[in-house]
Each structure stands twice: as C-alpha cells, then as structure tokens.
C-alpha cells in the first residue's frame, strides 16, 4: 500500500459512522477506534443509539450512529462536529448531516439513494444534497452496496449476508483515508468468526475492496495523517464508563478483602454495570437481578448488613424508587454504594439521552434529614477511579455514597492506561472483631465519626439495628428529643468530615482570573476543551471541575474568591449552581444551562465564555 505523500497532517479529526440499526455502525466505529488506539492516537467515542425500540428500517428514527474523535494531542470529547460522515443511507444523511463541519466530507452509499429510501428518510425531492443544502460539502457518492455485491459475487453467500458486510467496505475506505493498517481489524474478524471461515473471508475481501476503491478515486477523497499522541507509556485499553464503574467496584472489593454484592434492576443506561458484574463470577461477584429497584437496594442493604461490599446501580426513575431504602441505610449507617447513571427526565423522559438533572434528587430525595455522600465521575475512564473512591468512602466512613455518572460517559469510551492494583490504597472498613470488650453498635471513631461494623456470625457482638431513631451509643430505639437532635447533627457531620479525606479542588489554568468556569460530572471533556481553547487565546479563564459534591472539597472558597466572575455550566436548569448558593452563599453564580439530551458543544461554550468576558 502506497505511502501517501499528499496527506493532510491534522492534530485531530472527528469521524461519524451513521446507518441503519442493522448496518453494524457500532462495530464499524469500534474497529476504527481500536485501530487508531493501537497506532497510538488518543481518542474519545460516543455511540448514539436510536430510541429504544427498533424503528422500521430506513427511517430517521432507526438511525444508529457512532462518533469518534482521534488526535495526536489529548482528546477529551467525541467532538462537536464531524470532519467526515459516513452515511449508509438517506436516513443517516438526513439525521446526521447537520452535525458535519461546514465543508466537511460526506461519504454516502450511492446505491441507497433511490425513491423508496429517500421517501422513508423523509426527503421530499430526489436530491437530498440540494434539499439539505449540502452543496458546499465534499460529497462522495460511492456505490457501496453494489461494489460489495460485486466483490462477493463468487463466494456463494446469500444476499442478506452479503449486504451485511457493506459496513466493511465503508471501513476500508476510511482506513485508506487515514492510512491505517487493516491487520488489527483482520485479526479481530478472524477471532470473532472463528467457526465461520467464509464470513471471515467475505469481510476481509470487502474491507480490502473498500480500501482499494478509495485509493483508486484518490482525487476525490481527502487523506489525513494523524501522528500518534504523546501519551504516557504503558499498556492501554479502551473502556467505557459503565465497564469502568463495574471494574472500579470490583477493585475496591479486592482492596477491602470483601466480597462484592450487587442488587440491581435493569434500566437504561445503567444496565451494563449489572451485566458486567454478572459476567464476573470468576472474581466471586454476586449479582442479584431483583424484581425491582427497591428490592435492588434492599438486597444490597441486607448484604451490607451481612458484611459484603454492597452496591446497587440504576438510573433516574430507579433512584427515585430507592429513596426510602436509602434513608434506612442512612439511619443504620451501613456502607452502600449507589450508582446512578443519569438520563433525560423527568419521568421516562429521554431514556437514552444524557442529562445532569438528578443532582438534587441525589442530595435530597429522601424523607427527613438524610445526608449521604454524593460524588460524580467525569470521563469514561475515571469512572474506575471514582467508583473505587465511592466504595472506599462508603466502607471506611460507614455511609451510603451516591456516585453519579451519565449516559454520555457511561456509553462513551476512551483509551485508558491500565493501572496496577498495587498503585491503589488498601481499604480498611472498621469491622468489629469478636471479643471486643464493651462493644457498642453506635460508638464512633473520633476522626471520621464512623461506627463499627459487626457482621452476623461474629461471636458476642449480636445486636439489633433498624430504621427508628437510635440511641447515640447503644443503637437501641430512642425517642429522646435531645438524642434525636444529636443524631441528626452527627449524621450530617459524619458526611461533612469526609471532606478531610478527599483531594482539594483543582483549578485548570491560572488560580486568579476574570472568569471561573465551574462544572461537575460528565461535562468535563467539553468544558476543559473549551476553557483550554480560550486560554490559548490569552483570556484569563480557568476551570474548576467538581467530582466531590457532598461534601465539597475544603478549599472551595479559596478557589472562588480569586475570580471576577463565576459561571456554573450544567446540563440541567442549574442544580449545582443552586447547591453552591446554599453552601457558599457569598458568591454570585452565573449559569449556563442546556437541557436538550445532548452534551454541550465546545463552540457554544467558547462563545458564551467570551461573551461573559466582554460584558
């Protein structure tokens, strides 16, 4: 394969694969990402499924997309707009063209542009390019379907199987454009279809056909060169947020020397956490697919009482159902991790779209004064870190911890430098030992205010706990007014004390400036990129991104007071801004909010920040 001399050297490129649900776009995107990762690019991906039920073929509702952003510098988001769109049919074009950069490249399967296809996609004319005003774009109409058929005509496959491999043709074209080797994909195919040599052969043939086709029509296709990113040495893998969350919890169990129990009920987009844990019986994980979310958390509370690292995973509406039981965990001061993968609300809302609107629910969605630790992960891979931390805090401070992620980072993936478990701290839950003299269920250690954990089976420490208010020492039921006040205060203080055990808030950029951008959770990539880009223009803007919400890091005031303006950016109506108003009322918080079931775009953020700087 000829080395291309005229390739455009690019820092980063965004590619979007888009087609029918059955067109294999997720696989295509993943294969491209893996290959890019292997040759050393940094990257970030975002799969964008259609609504939950398969729509009829060829319609806009049925379009499935996969966007990947590759680069030679650190890549933090899947990118706003695509440089290249691969559209397998008119519906894909219709749905996705607006997300292509002006003047970008659009490769479309010419064979799919027929009356039926256009009509199904909702085009009114027979010229989709004109109809969508794409004249200024680099449109490449490639006869993908027919060339795929042509390539396979002698192989004795039925026509359904033949057409199923047309995604490989598209992928081959893209490999040529980016000058990527095909060997990784080939060995993947060999592995996956071990028992079907014909399928391997067919896919490889079509892949090469696509590559060759792109090369042949070189004059039309752009050609990019993206050198390897300068990233830290090590062994890497791709990981998405849900898997990282599951693994972080497993890692915590190992470090605590406990068994991991997860009681959960499937719900989009959190289900994969339960699925991954279910598959991990080899590490002794016990999963309990409960009859509902309430049983999910309650079985976990039971497991926690019995001495396991107990976890429950869910998404918004499921978190609502867990509120009452969370109160029980608060009262009984048992360790428990509740993972909430946020999605668009209220109610069933937009179940497959990301949003950050469960923050208030996480903080306050329970009866009474019911404090728990609330934290949030900010990228697919750091879900591992924060899941680990959540478990560590739960176990060492004897408290429920809510970890918030969202559909965006849960499904999105990025390369991750695989850590060694020896780099992680041990977790030391305050387990009460048999034979402890004068042991009291609600006696606490002075530093953390954590009570000790006496697990059934421990001789001599038999005791009773429950949801009624407890005596501050014995844990017996107490209706005493002063005791109640004390316990309400202690429970709050115990959570606040966690602030002494978490990292300080970091500022990205100068510690002083005109504008402090504040974010939390899954918007990190967008905020960091946007802030970096205007910093590069010489503006005095910094970013403070929160992963610990309750309690807040100890140095919040120190950070805030050094900026002229503060703007809190969220995918909700301003929940974190309001929380900051409660906890740090002395500052004025501007807000930038977007609630569209979509992440921010870097462009809109930059524009907004610049406007704020001018005002």
């Amino acid at each position: 394969m000829s080395k291309k001399a005229d390739a455009i050297e690019r820092e980063e490129v965004v590619i979007r694969f888009s087609g029918d649900s059955g067109d294999g776009m997720q696989l295509t995107g993943t294969l491209f990402s893996d290959t890019s990762a292997f040759i050393g690019n940094d990257l970030s991906t975002f799969p964008d499924y259609p609504s939950e039920i398969r729509a009829p073929q060829g319609t806009v509702g049925g379009v499935s997309g996969f966007q990947v952003h590759v680069g030679q510098t650190a890549i933090k988001t899947p990118g706003d707009y695509a440089d290249i769109l691969i559209a397998m049919n008119p519906a894909a074009l219709k749905a996705t063209a607006k997300w292509v950069k002006e003047g970008g490249t659009i490769i479309i399967d010419e064979d799919s542009i027929n009356e039926r296809g256009l009509q199904k996609a909702g085009y009114k004319t027979d010229d989709p390019i004109k109809e969508d005003k794409l004249d200024g774009y680099n449109i490449i109409q490639a006869p993908i379907s027919s060339l795929t058929k042509e390539a396979l005509k002698d192989m004795g496959l039925d026509s359904k199987s033949i057409l199923r491999s047309k995604n490989m043709f598209a992928l081959g074209m893209v490999y040529w454009i980016f000058d990527r080797p095909m060997k990784y994909t080939e060995s993947f195919l060999e592995n996956k279809f071990k028992k079907k040599p014909l399928v391997i052969e067919a896919n490889k043939t079509v892949l090469r056909a696509g590559y060759n086709y792109a090369e042949t029509m070189e004059h039309m296709t752009p050609s990019f060169k993206i050198s390897p990113a300068k990233i830290k040495k090590g062994t890497y893998r791709n990981i998405n947020g849900n898997i990282a969350t599951a693994w972080g919890l497993i890692a915590a169990a190992e470090k605590a020397g406990l068994e991991l129990f997860c009681g959960s009920y499937p719900i989009t987009p959190a289900t994969e956490i339960l699925q991954e844990l279910s598959a991990r019986k080899d590490l002794g994980i016990k999963t309990f697919q409960a009859e509902d979310e309430i049983a999910g958390i309650c079985t976990s509370i039971g497991a926690s009482f019995a001495g396991d690292l107990a976890v429950t995973s869910t998404s918004g509406p499921g978190l609502a159902l867990k509120g009452e039981a969370m109160g029980l965990a608060v009262m009984t001061e048992l360790p428990l991790v509740i993972v909430n993968v946020q999605r668009g609300g209220p109610s069933t809302g937009l179940p497959t779209k990301p949003e950050q609107s469960d923050l208030m629910q996480a903080l306050y969605g329970r009866s009474g004064e019911s404090p728990v630790v609330v934290m949030a992960a900010s990228t697919p891979s750091d879900c591992f870190q924060y899941a680990f931390e959540a478990a560590k805090i739960a176990l060492e401070h004897m408290t429920p911890v809510i970890l918030l992620t969202d559909g965006f980072i849960a499904n999105g993936s990025e390369p991750w430098r695989i850590p060694k478990m020896s780099e992680y701290p041990d977790i030391k839950p305050p387990i009460a030992k048999a034979g402890t003299k004068d042991w009291q269920p609600y006696a606490r250690d002075v530093e953390k205010l954590a009570r000790t954990w006496a697990v059934p089976g421990t001789k001599g420490l038999e005791h009773r706990i429950g949801g009624l208010e407890k005596d501050e020492l014995t844990g017996s039921v107490s209706h005493d007014p002063i005791n109640h006040q004390k316990m309400v205060n202690i429970r709050e203080e115990k959570v606040q004390r966690v602030s002494k055990f978490i990292p300080k808030l970091k500022v990205e950029g100068d510690e002083k400036g005109d504008l402090l951008v504040i974010g939390w959770g899954g918007t990190y990539g967008y905020l960091a990129t946007a802030v970096k880009q205007i910093q590069d223009k010489g503006k005095k803007v910094s970013l403070a991104h929160f992963n610990y919400i309750k309690p807040l890091p100890v140095n919040v005031k120190e950070v805030f007071e050094k900026f002229e303006k503060i703007v809190v950016c969220e995918n909700n109506l301003g929940q974190f801004a309001n929380y900051l108003r409660m906890t740090n009322p002395e500052y004025k918080y501007l807000q930038y909010n977007k609630v569209q079931g979509l992440p921010f775009t870097i462009i809109e953020l930059e524009e907004h920040f610049e406007k704020l700087l001018e005002e």
Partner: protein, 339 residues
Amino acid sequence: MIETQNILTPKDFKSDQEVRWCPGCGDHAILNAIQRALPELGIAKEDFAIISGIGCSSRFPYYMSTYGFHSIHGRASAIASGVKVANPELSVWQITGDGDAMAIGGNHFIHAIRRNIDLNIILFNNEIYGLTKGQYSPTSKFGSVTKTSPYGTVEHPFHPGELVIGAQGKFFARSIDNNLKLCQEIFVEAGKHHGATVVEVLQNCVIYNDKTHAAISDREFKDDRQIVLRHSEPMIFGKNKDKGLILDAEHLKLKVVELGDKYSEKDLLVHNAKEVNPGMHLMLANMQYPEHPVAFGIIRSIDAPTYDGSVAKQVEEVKSKSAIKSVDDLLNSGTTWKV
C-alpha cells in the same frame, strides 16, 4: 452453620429489651415458641439473623438476642434475601405481618418464594394493620368493618397458602398463636428445611381485631374445626378422632367424613407433604371453616435447589474455569496495546 458445643436454651435467645406488645397479644406466644425452637437447631447464636419489616409483629428482632434488623415496611424479604445470598452460612429468619408481607411487601414476598431462597418466613396473620391502629389488610375477611372500611370492605382476601403456592412455594405450614407446641414443632422443621419456608401463624390482635380466629381457635371447638396434618399420616381430626378427609374425585373436592360404619381410617387420605404437584396442597391450604376444618401443620414441603446455594455453586464453577483470578488480570484481559 457450624454446630455449637454449648447447648443453648430459650433463655439464651431473650434480649434485654422490655417486650412492648399489648398484654394478651398473640405475638407474645409466638416469640416464646421461636425462643424454644431455635436452640433445637444446634446453630450458634451468632449465626442467626432475624430480619423484619414494620408492624407490631416486626418489633420482634428487638426481643431476640441474635443479630437482628428491624427494617422498613414491606422490604424484609428483600433485605433477608440479600443477607442470605451474601452469607449462606447464616440461618436467616424473616418476621412479617399480613400487611408487611402481603400489602406493601407482596412483590418481594412472592419473589423470595419463587427464587427459593433459604429463608424462614414467619407470617403473623392477624388480618389487620395493628401498628397503625386498625385498618384492614389484604387478609381481612370480606366485609370487615375497620377504620378505613367503616361500611365494610369490598375486597376478597388473599389466602396466604394459596398465594405461596401460586408463587412456586416449596414449603408452607400453618399454626396458631395459642398452640405453642405446634408452633415450636413447625419452626424447628422450617429451620431445618433448605429453601424458602413460609409459616403462617394465625395471631390474635386483642385491640383491633379481637377474636378474628375465634371460630376455629376457641378451646371448645378447636379440635373439631382444626386438622393437624402430618406427613404420611391419615387426615384424621375431631375431639374424638372421629372425622377425616377423603377426596371426592368427581368434583375434585375434599370431603369431611365421619369415621364409623361407612368409613374407616384406611379410607382417609394420607398426607403427602412431599408431592411436587401442588393440587392437593392447594386444596388443603384453602380449606375453610365451616365447610372444612382448617389445616394446620406442614402442608407442603418439597426439596429443591436453593437460590443462594446455586449462586454459590455457580461462582465456584466459574472461578475454577476462568483465567481471571484478580483485578489485575481483569484489567489486562481482552484487547490491550502498549505505548
């Protein structure tokens, strides 16, 4: 469950808490029976976990000196399930009321039974919400006048035995608060059985539903209105042991007959608690006075793999076959690359 050297006595199971049920409440007797039954199981005290929901009956764990959890209303089955799956070595008992188990807790109750988790569920059936001071429950008789049904209920009650069988129940027994010995005997059997056991104990609430079981529990009549079933024994009852049950095959119904000229003991049905097919057990559990005597004792007791046991087994099997032995292995599994 490790057998203990020291033999425990009922006193060992009493906690230091003052028992706070109303004087005359049936709960006192049931507490008593459990405290007598547990020592018979030969299990160390620290290996018992008693989980309850909310209700008068659910105060139970406070009065026991074992590990205990007085949780929230309706969720005891789920919490107990978690306890047992987390540590299958424990002997886990769930204490629950008719409201706790079958109103708010109905779903967890039937699912714990369906999964055959090795729990001992003791269902205190007083046909009323005691703790909230007298509203009807899912087992209150049709037409009951209570605080929330001043004109009588218009809903048919669940029959706990029938619901248990409908939920794939493998063990169902019935007792009554004024029969301490029978309670104790059944609790011991429940404790020994592997899998979900449900023991319905008819319980009198002197305050809000006094005498709801009186028609069958009054000393005077009880022998004629109760039949105590025992595996492989004939279905005989009556003060003078002069009555029994036969099957009217044509109508597929149970029939009460008098022993004497026409029928003798050998004509009677013989109780087979181990029959997998639930048809007969359903009929026995459903018997109601006055048409039939009410069935007591262990009505159904089927052996089947438990959920908790199967989970543990599956974990062991998968562990032994997998190359992934640690988190480091896991993180490095699948596709990785070096930079």
